[in-house]
Structures are given as C-alpha cells and as structure tokens.
C-alpha cells in the first residue's frame, strides 16, 4: 500500500466535494479496493470513505420498487430484502463469505463491474435504475464492458432501484477458487416481459441473452429454451473453463433459473 489521505464525510454532498480533489477515489466496503491497494496496483492520493453516509444506507420497498442505498452491505440486503425480493436477497447472501458480505456494498460492486460479480446480473436482469449524485441511469445503459461503467469521474452510486418482478431466480455456478460466478444467470419475469442477464461468461461483461428472453416471454418454461444456446465466441476462457464450457453453462443455468422461478 502507498500512503494516502483518508476522509470520511457524513453526507453525499461532502463526499462529492471531496471526490472533486485530484486523485481522490471513493471507498465503499473496500473488499475490492483494499486488496488492490495492498498489491500496490492503485495509488489514490485520498480515499473518500462512503461508509459514514447514513443517507446511502438501507433497504426500502414502496409501490413495487425496492430501493437500496448505494452504501448498503450485502449482508443487509440479504436480511432486509428477503421478504420483498427473495431472489435478490439470496444473491446477496451468497456473495463471498460473511466478512465480505458485512463490508462489501452494492454501490461498490456495481461501480466495479467485475465480469464475474453477481450484482450486475441482478441489476441488469431486474431492469434496475442506478441512481447517482448527478442522475439516474438505466441498467441497460450502465454496464459498458468488463470493469467499465457509465459513471463519470467522481460520480457516486447513491441508490439502486429495483422494480420487483413477479418471479425471479439467480443461479450461480461458482468458480472453484474465488467462488465468484464462473457463470451466473439472473432470470426475472415482470410486467414488461422476461429478462435474462448473464454474468461471468462474456468478455464484454454482464449481458442480456435476448434470444432466451424472447422465447421465455411467450412461454415461461424450460421447454421454451431447450436447445437454445449462446455462441462460444466471445466467452471468457481461463484456467477454470473454456469458452465452450461457459457457453454451455449459460444454457444449463438459465433453464435452472427458469425452473426455480416458475
């Protein structure tokens, strides 16, 4: 780790101001950023902790929309969304280990957009809205490929709004070492149809499997997508799985998610 200054504002405005300074970076739960700093792979001059901002924390349901503060921990979501949006709560409850869940935040996870992370699949699969200090961004416009998002420099995710679907399920097939998603599929069936979001698989990061969505929209059953597959081209290949394996898992997990959500 290199030296840095540390500030811990108590409001979004103060945080935005602090992030306006040169080489400032937001610190959420630190579950991604702190290991990066320890490896000396990042060198921010100042860290602006978001953990003291009360207005960025908490889970609230209103009018079929679940709003989660950007600084809310995975453990809190797992506990507090269990009644209103069980598929999302289950996803949060299976991220990392208890220490990661107690520190890591939804804002940090979405801002980081790790290609193997779980929350991006939930946000894209639910058609969520990412709320920042400056604007609202539809999930469809937010994820821009591996580790890249629509966020501007210094922009903070203050909340995420999830329209609660009629039925949803997340299937995560764990990478054996990290236990991130080797492939994860989030399926949600709502008023506007069916959304299928896939994480872990593509070199472009989280994506919607539109063919499956179309098939499921008219017939929400595993039979509707039997035989459907994504092309192996463009999938990630690494120690833990080939492109073909990942493409295969997308089909398997989508069917399992549909079956669990039906």
């Amino acid at each position: 780790m290199y030296n840095f200054e540390f500030v811990k504002p108590s409001s979004i405005d103060e945080a935005v101001a602090a992030l306006g300074e040169d080489e400032a970076q937001a610190l959420g739960g630190g579950q991604t950023l702190i290991p990066t700093l320890k490896q000396r792979l990042a060198r921010p001059a100042r860290l602006v902790s978001l953990s003291g901002i009360a207005e960025m924390k908490g889970v609230g349901a209103e009018g079929g929309v679940l709003t989660i503060g950007g600084g809310t921990s995975h453990a809190t979501v797992a506990a507090e969304a269990a009644g209103s949006y069980p598929a999302l709560a289950a996803l949060a409850g299976n991220i990392g280990d208890p220490a990661v869940r107690n520190r890591g935040t939804i804002g940090g996870s979405l801002a980081n957009n790790d290609p193997s992370a779980c929350y991006p699949a939930a946000a894209l699969g639910s058609g969520a809205t990412i709320v920042t200090n400056a604007r609202e961004i539809a999930a469809d416009d937010f994820f821009k490929g591996m580790f890249t998002t629509a966020l501007e420099e210094g922009e903070i995710i203050t909340a995420v709004r999830f329209p609660v679907p009629q039925a949803a399920n997340y299937q995560k097939f764990e990478q054996p070492a990290s236990r991130f998603a080797l492939v994860g599929v989030f399926v949600a069936r709502g008023g506007d149809g069916v959304r299928v979001a896939v994480t872990g698989a593509s070199e472009e990061g989280v994506f919607r499997w539109s063919e499956a969505e179309a098939a499921l929209a008219s017939d929400f059953s595993t039979g509707a997508i039997e035989g459907l597959s994504v092309p192996a081209d463009g999938m990630i290949a690494d120690l833990h799985g080939s492109k073909a394996y990942r493409a295969h898992l997308v089909g398997v997990l989508t069917r399992r998610a549909v079956s669990a959500a039906s």
Partner: protein
C-alpha cells in the same frame, strides 16, 4: 476398551490451548530490538539475463539501510541440495548453482534479484520500486517435454542440457520387465499427470537473522520443520558459520506439509545481512510471495504399463516419468521422484518384475520438492489408477483383482529394493468393506440417478514408506545427511521430565502424544512430561519432522533414552531399598523389590539422584539425564484401503464427494484422536489435489494460479464427514513402539480413490472416458464427457 491415559488414550491436544487462544509464539511474533526489514525484489519474468541492476536512486530513498544484489553473495556458497542421485549410467545428476540472490540470470518468476533492507517494510518496498533493472528477456522453458528437446533454451547455461538425471530403477530389472510385458496376456497402459501443487500452509514463511558481535554468534529464527538441518546446510554450505556459532530456532510453526523442510535463500539472506549491517533483519512472506517462492509439489508426467497373465496375476510394471525440478534443485528435490517414488511402485502387490524410469527436468518454474507424501502419492496414484483401468478392461471386480494380487507373506522383498516388514492388506480391505457399506451402494446409486446424478465408487489400496530412514541405506542412495533422530530426557529432582527432541511439531500434536509414551513407560501422569523442540541450542542434533517419521524415529529415540533413565533409576532404587537391581520392578510410578512389600516412589528416586546424600556415588554418577540417538533399521510401511463415493452432475461436470471411508494400518496407535485428525487432514488435502488444486503456468512461465482467486484450496464444504478406522493393525516389527506413522497416509490414499470413483460414475452413465487428469474440475469433467 479405549484407555484413558498413556499409550492408546485420546488425550486432548495440550498445545491447542495456546493455538486456539492466540497465544502461540510464531516467528512473525518475534521482534528484536533494532530490527530492520527486508523486501525482496523478485523477477517478474521467467527467464532473463541480468544486464544491470541500478540501485543508486533506491539507496537514496528514506529509511534504506542497505541494498544487496547477487554480487554481494559471490563469495559465499549457493543454496545446497541434500541429495545426489546417480543416473542409469552411473553418473551423478547435473547440479546447478543456486545463488542466494539471482546472479547473471533470473530463472523463474519470483526469483529474488535484489534485497532492500530498510527501517520499515514500507520504506523497503518503496525503495525496491526505485531499483532500475535491465533484464533481457530470454525464451522460457515450461513444458518438460519441450525442455528436453534438442536446442531447447537452457535454464542453466553451464549445464549440458535441462536434464538433471535419467534414472532407472532397478536397472537390472529392465530386460526382464520388457520381456514380461512382451509376453503378457494383457497390458493396460495409462498416461497421466500428477498435478503440480502449492502447499499453502496457513502461516507463510518468515525469517529473522540476528548477529551478536560480542559472542560472534548468529541466530536465525525461521519457520522450519527441521532447524538442525537448516543449521547444517546454511552454516556449512552457504555461509561458512561453524555450528557452535550458529543457532537456529523454529518456534511455533503454522503448518508445513513439506514446504518448510527445505533451506531457502531468504533464511541465508537474513542471517548474512544481519551480520553485514549488525542489526537483526526480518522477512515475512506475503501470501503472494509464498505462491512464487515456496517449493511446489508433485508435477509428474507419467506413462505406466501393467502386464497381467491369463489368470489376471500382475506380471510386470513399467513406468516412465518426467519429474519437474523447477529452476533450481531444492533441498530434497532429487530424492522425491526417485527413492521416495520408485521404491513404492510395487504397492501392495506381488508383481515380480518392476522397472521405473524417471527423467528429472529443469524448467523456468519455482523449484519443486517434497509435499505431503512426497513421491509416494505419485506412485500410489499411477498404480491404483492403472489397476482400476485394467479391471475395467478385463471386466473384473476391482476389489477382487486387488485381493488376488495382494502380498500376503511377510517380510516381503519387493523388486524395487525395499522389504516390507509386516502388513495385512486383506484385513484393511475387510475393515473397509465393513465401514463403507458396499452392499448399500446399488441403492445409493439408484437414488442419485433418480435425482439426475451419476454416482461412482472408487477404491484405492495404498502403501507408503515412512519412518525415514535407515542412515546407511539412504547414504548409499545419495542422501547427504543421516536420518536418525535424537532425544534427551531430563528428569528433574522433583520427578518431572523435560524431553528435548529433534522432531519438530508444526501441528502434529507432539506435545501431547510424546508425553503419553513416556508416562506409560514410567507409570506417571502425562502432565509431568514437557516437550522441548525447535531450538538447536536446546536440543541435541536432530533431523526434524517429515516423512511421517516423528513417532517412528523420534519416538523411538525417546523410548531408548527413557529406557536408559529407567535402568539408572532402578539402580538408585535398589540402593535405597538395599536390594539388587535385577529385582527392581517399575510399575505405576513406584519401584518395588520383587516378592517383597518394599517400595520407593518415582519422585524419591529422582530426588536421590540430585540430592545424593544416600547414593552409590562410587558406582553411579548423580543426576538423571540421558540422551539416545535412534537410527531405524528399515522404513515402516503403513498401508490401507480407501473408498470414495462421488456424485457427478452430468449437466455441469460438478463432482461432489458423498462418502469417504479410510481403513488404515498404522501399527500401534498412541493417540487415536490425533491419528484421526491426521487422516482427516490428509484426505482433505488429497481431495484438494484430486478435485481443486492446480498450479498452472502459461507458456511464458507466468504463474497463472498466483493467488487464492485462481488456486482453489479445499474448504470445509468440499469434503464429507469421513469414516476412518485404524483397528486392523500389524505393528511395525523393528521399532520399539511398533508404530508406523500416519501423517501422509490420507494425502496418499485419497486422490486415486476420488478419480477412480469419478470414472466409475461417468462410465455408469454410458461415457467411455477412461481417464481425466487432476484436478477433476467441473470444466474438465464436462469436457471429458463431451469427447
């Protein structure tokens, strides 16, 4: 009936009180006045020529005390290798120099190039970034076959090739083996890889060097399994410090699994640098450094052929193995694929003709050396996989095929130079059949199939050689050390005992089991015995802990020393009771005169030894302290039968272990609970190897599995509840306790059982797959199913 004290009792591990309450004293807990910190600048390329190292800017950085490079170590020795293998043609292996800091070339990612000593670790790291390296990339050799090709880049320019040795065992068997294979009724051939592993003990390596100007004595605190071996290797071969001026201390050590046997460059560096700057120098490995600097394990590529006659009797075994040495020879690396591997190729079977060929190869990777089991898991894996494959090819029951070929008469001299003193492989198989409920398997398989899963059952019968080792034998085979063990038993005036042992405990529970042995011999409470280990200034020359040798060899030394104590104490008791020594009996902590009611307590005899007012001073020295060195006459041969049941998800290739049963023959058992624990841990590591762990390099020699993000360690949820049983026991015939050793068994016995089970599961689903290389990750199993 389980006993409640002494040998056979499951005493709770007394060391766990400090381990579990955070009051242990690990090397990193030690901080010395005035200590400086070292950070090693390590190579990020696998192979390169060092054209220049410019430390000028770094020297000027805040807090920097001194920066060392390879040039500073030209006058000292290289890191030595402790074993010289002689090749098939009678020539010694090729043995390259292993400099403390890279000199001339870097040879693997992680090879230390420069060492920055500074007031703080952060300052050392900052300064290391200011060092300017001029390193010319050279093509790396990673694949062993490619490394042996003509014209391959050489890891060591001054060697003739990347071949360390080409070893044949037993060379005289070769023609008979070839002939037996040519004339066999059936030959089963299997090509397989024994995957490269990283030990990953919970505690990373740490070293602190210190120098005392007044006495001229150097001290090294280090995370070692064998402090005397480090003192000998580092003092005599690297730094030229005589042993009376060098103290090595290994306090509490948080696991080793082999990786902390070896003498490492960082130890020599800290000892050297402490003297050079006249301040203690401390190094604590980060986990990332551990991945690229701890010796790795396994990494064999093997073809094995098993020949059978028309009645399915094994007639010959022939193996060809490439064994990766990495970039340098780690301390015991050459012995692992040879004498710890070839000698075990007979397994539990009476195969008359066996020939093992091993080519050890240098590559631009981290050195490879012993890892839990060391050579024996590699032998067991090949043999038990090829037997399983043969059973399938011949359509015979794999258990029946094994039983038919079991060795049943002992002692048994194998065609690969060892003699098994005792064993009963049918008995362990009988025990396994009892605990594993083979009868219920068909129903369990049906239930799995109903749930859409494939279920398989895999068997393994391992044997291993432990209690390492008879010094004269290993000397002939190339060991540059003896392999006896020592113990000093010091009885205090008030009757308590302190035992100084050369065995080192780094999780095995010696502080609990060793006292149980002595307590049993004297008839006192185990609480009266304390174990001291891990400090060359306190303990007589000992060889440390590895190869399941602590109880079999170290325990034997302790027994011998205690016997001497008892013999002397009897003389004192005889004097006190005015009787003849021959009539004295020791029972329940009291000496009595046979046939009388005269008796004197243990404590009174001890007191008399140190307060010799009424004492036979003309015949007997006062005091009660004895030392014994024990050199075993043979290895011990633990063996067992393991059964694993797996479920495979045919859609994803995911394997789950549903049941795991182990029937072991460890000879006599001192503490059954601790033995269970050793077996549990070993099986856990074996399952890790079979399903999860893979140390992987890319073709440029970059370590792909360089952190826990990519190197999969087994976790609690990956293993089932085990059933372990060590009731079928054939005590070792040549050591005083009749013990064989249990530390490595689980890691040796489990991988073949797991892989055999997965193949069984896949074939039950109609797949034709006959082999998958470990680890059997979901993607590999799925890919094999598609083929």
């Amino acid at each position: 009936m389980p006993k409640d004290s002494g040998i056979g009792a499951s005493d709770k591990r007394r060391e766990d009180v400090r381990f579990l309450t955070g009051t242990g004293n690990y090397t990193d807990d030690i901080n010395m006045a005035g200590q400086a910190y070292v950070h090693f600048l390590r190579s990020d390329v696998a192979h390169g020529r060092i054209n220049g190292i410019d430390t000028a800017a770094a020297e000027a950085m805040p807090g920097v005390v001194r920066i060392f490079t390879g040039a500073d170590f030209e006058a000292v020795g290289g890191i030595p290798c402790g074993w010289q293998v002689t090749d098939r043609h009678g020539n010694p292996m090729q043995e390259p120099r292993h400099p403390v800091l890279a000199h001339g070339k870097v040879r693997h990612v992680g090879d230390p190039i420069a060492a920055v000593v500074a007031e703080t670790l952060a300052q050392a790291r900052d300064a290391a970034e200011a060092i300017k390296l001029d390193i010319e990339d050279l093509p790396a050799v990673v694949d062993m076959k490619a490394a042996l090709e003509d014209g391959a880049p050489k890891v060591h320019d001054d060697l003739t090739s990347n071949l360390c040795y080409d070893w044949g065992f037993v060379e005289d068997n070769k023609d008979a083996v070839d002939q037996a294979i040519r004339s066999a009724a059936h030959v089963t051939t299997l090509d397989l890889v024994n995957n490269r592993l990283i030990a990953n003990p919970m505690e990373p390596r740490v070293a602190i060097g210190a120098f005392d100007r007044a006495s001229g004595e150097s001290t090294l605190y280090t995370t070692s399994q064998n402090p005397h071996v480090i003192r000998l290797l580092m003092g005599a071969f690297v730094l030229g410090i005589p042993e009376h001026k060098l103290r090595v201390v290994s306090p509490d050590v948080g696991g080793g699994f082999g990786s902390k046997i070896f003498h490492y460059a960082e130890e020599a560096f800290c000892t050297f640098a402490a003297k050079a700057i006249n301040r203690p120098v401390k190094w604590t490995a980060t986990r990332s450094e551990a991945f690229m600097s701890d010796a790795h394990g396994r990494d064999h590529v093997t073809r094995i052929e098993l020949a059978l006659d028309g009645d399915n009797n094994f007639t010959a075994i022939r193996t060809e193995t490439l064994a990766n040495m990495g970039a340098y020879l780690s301390t015991f690396a050459p012995s692992v694929p040879t004498y710890l591997h070839g000698t075990l190729m007979a397994g539990c079977y009476k195969t008359p003709n066996i020939y093992v060929n091993v080519k050890a190869v240098f590559t631009n990777t981290v050195p490879v050396d012993a890892y839990r089991g060391a050579g024996r898991p590699e032998a067991s894996y090949q043999l038990e996989r090829v037997i399983d494959k043969a059973a399938r090819e011949l359509g015979v029951d794999p258990i029946a095929l094994r039983r038919q070929n079991f060795i049943t008469e002992f002692p048994y001299a194998t065609p690969v130079a060892v003699e098994y003193d005792t064993g009963d492989y049918n008995a362990t198989m009988d025990t396994l059949e009892k605990i594993a409920d083979f009868g219920g398997f068909a129903a369990r398989r049906a239930a799995s199939e109903k749930a859409g899963k494939l279920r398989g059952l895999g068997i393994n019968c391992y044997i291993e050689a432990c209690g390492i080792a008879p010094s004269s034998l290993v000397g002939q085979l190339g060991a540059r050390a003896g392999l006896y063990e020592s113990a000093t038993v010091r009885v205090n005036a008030t009757g308590g005992l302190v035992v100084m042992t050369g065995s080192h405990s780094h999780g095995q529970g010696h502080e609990t089991t060793f006292p149980q042995v002595i307590a049993e011999m004297i008839g006192i409470d185990a609480g009266m015995v304390e174990i001291v280990h891990g400090d060359t200034s306190k303990v007589p020359m000992g060889l440390g802990t590895y190869g399941s040798r602590s109880l079999a060899v170290g325990g034997s030394a302790m027994v011998r020393a205690t016997e001497k104590i008892i013999a002397k104490a009897k003389k004192i008791a005889a004097h006190l009771m005015e009787a003849s020594d021959a009539d004295i009996e020791l029972k329940d902590g009291a000496f009595s005169v046979a046939g009388t009611d005269k008796s004197v307590a243990w404590g009174d005899v001890c007191l008399a030894a140190y307060v010799p007012h009424n004492y036979p001073l003309e015949e007997l020295e006062p005091g009660l302290e004895e030392t014994a060195f024990y050199d075993p006459s043979n290895f011990t041969y633990p063996a067992g039968a393991y059964a694993c049941e797996v479920e495979v998800d045919p859609e994803t290739g995911q394997v789950t272990i549903e049941r795991f049963c182990a029937a072991d023959d460890f000879g006599n058992v001192v503490n059954p609970m601790i033995v269970d624990g050793q077996v549990h841990g070993g099986i856990g590591q074996g399952i890790g190897q079979a399903l999860l762990e893979a140390c992987a390099y890319d073709e440029d020699g970059q370590l792909l599995s360089a952190s826990y993000m990519d190197y999969a360690m087994p976790r609690a949820g990956d293993v089932p509840f085990y059933k372990v049983d060590h009731s079928s026991s054939t005590p070792c015939t040549h050591n005083p306790l009749g013990v064989k050793g249990c530390g490595e068994a689980g890691a040796i016995g489990s991988p073949p059982a797991v892989v055999n089970a997965v193949i069984d599961a896949l074939q039950s689903g109609g797949s034709k797959v006959t082999h998958i290389d470990m680890p059997l990750s979901p993607s590999r199993v799925w890919a094999a199913m598609q083929a």
